[in-house]
């Protein structure tokens, strides 16, 4: 079960006897060891199966960049953005905005997809965990930029107008799959990873862009 690790460790232990400072295994060996340790350190619980640990190439590249502090190579970043962009579909009925009141509820809701959540529940958007959104909610996070007056400061007075189209489409894309615009964005890929439904994303769109939403007051 722990064979590869023990093997590696005992090799290191032997080295320790002969050198004051034993060299670490190579970075590639440490990557492999980490994967082995991950494989034997987790088990499925509730809806959180071990399939969630399957390496995703985008995540592998971004994780390495985060760890080493060296940004992903520009060409690779473009490739990540391109393949994530390809996952974005427009709204099935052509309408981008739903009901901002529903959007506010989704933005407040941080539940869903944990091993304690039922698999069939509507997931929350976790938005306030990282962003300021409405002015009334003081309990907001700062990991992402403030979205207060998101539509207003971008000059959106009529979300259905031609003038608003670029910002509406960009916002749609960003919520659906943020890595289409920023290869290693920390924002969850809400549509691509099946976190929010199309209808829920429309409600969040309305929260940000509807001129009657408290966000734009």
């Amino acid at each position: 079960m722990t064979r590869s690790y023990l093997h590696l460790a005992s090799a290191a232990a032997v080295l320790a006897l002969t050198a004051c400072s034993a060299p670490l295994p190579s970075s590639a060996d440490l990557d492999k060891l980490t994967q082995d340790i991950v494989a034997r350190s987790f088990r499925a619980q509730g809806q959180a199966g071990v399939d969630r640990l399957q390496p995703d190439e985008d995540n592998r590249l971004c994780s390495e960049a985060d760890r080493t502090g060296a940004p992903v190579d520009a060409k690779l970043a473009q490739a990540i953005e391109a393949r994530n962009m390809a996952t974005i579909k427009g709204p099935s009925d052509g309408k981008y905005l739903g009901d901002w009141k529903e959007g506010e509820k989704i933005a407040q809701d941080g539940r869903g997809k944990t091993w304690t959540d039922p698999a069939n529940m509507a997931n929350g958007g976790n938005c306030y965990n990282c962003h300021q959104i409405s002015r009334e909610e003081l309990s907001y996070g700062t990991l992402g930029p403030s979205l207060y007056q998101y539509g207003k400061i971008r000059g959106v007075t009529d979300p259905n107008s031609a003038a608003a189209k670029p910002i509406v489409e960009y916002t749609w894309g960003k919520i659906n799959n943020a890595r289409a615009y920023n290869a290693c964005s920390s924002m969850p890929r809400f549509a691509h990873k099946g976190i929010l439904t199309e209808a829920q994303i429309k409600h969040v769109m309305a929260l940000l862009l509807d001129p009657t939403s408290p966000v734009n007051k």
Partner: protein, 151 residues
């Protein structure tokens, strides 16, 4: 200062002593269910033997402006009034307003602190009930925030 071990050792003996003498029979009290079942501040005060509550600067409520978690909200009541029989802590918007009642005796100061659960942002009240049944209060707003990852 007494050590933890001593506390443990003493407690068994004290418990035995109290069991044989009864639990302070002179202070025997029936739990005031009606007061703790009351929905409003006024009803709870009435059930505790107080009249219509009037605001008073001689009563102090201490609590946070914002509670990071409604499960634990530190609250304290104190008063400089003479002839106070009991003091109460209440949360207006809880399903049952009354949190705690403390009987004031000559041996203790009319100053008590505990922690309350709050379901939502609300005014919290400290009420002092005098020997002749007057109820005097102080209140303050405590905002309860939604914390953490929300999960």
């Amino acid at each position: 200062m007494q050590t933890r071990r001593e506390t443990l050792k003493h407690s068994a003996a004290v418990a035995g002593l109290l069991a044989s003498t009864g639990l302070f029979p002179q202070y025997a009290q029936a739990f005031d269910k009606a007061a703790f079942d009351a929905k409003t501040v006024a009803d709870a005060v009435k059930a505790m033997g107080g009249g219509a509550p009037a605001e008073s600067k001689d009563v102090t409520i201490t609590g946070p402006d914002i509670a990071e978690n409604g499960a634990v909200v530190p609250l304290a009541v104190s008063t400089t009034l003479p002839n106070v029989k009991r003091v109460l802590l209440l949360v207006e918007k809880n399903p049952n307003a009354l949190i705690a009642m403390f009987n004031v005796s000559p041996e203790v100061e009319a100053n008590f602190a505990t922690r309350a659960k709050m379901g939502q942002s609300s005014d919290v009240y400290a009420v002092a009930i005098t020997n002749d049944g007057k109820a005097l209060f102080a209140k303050k707003e405590v905002k309860v925030t939604l914390g953490g990852c929300g999960g």
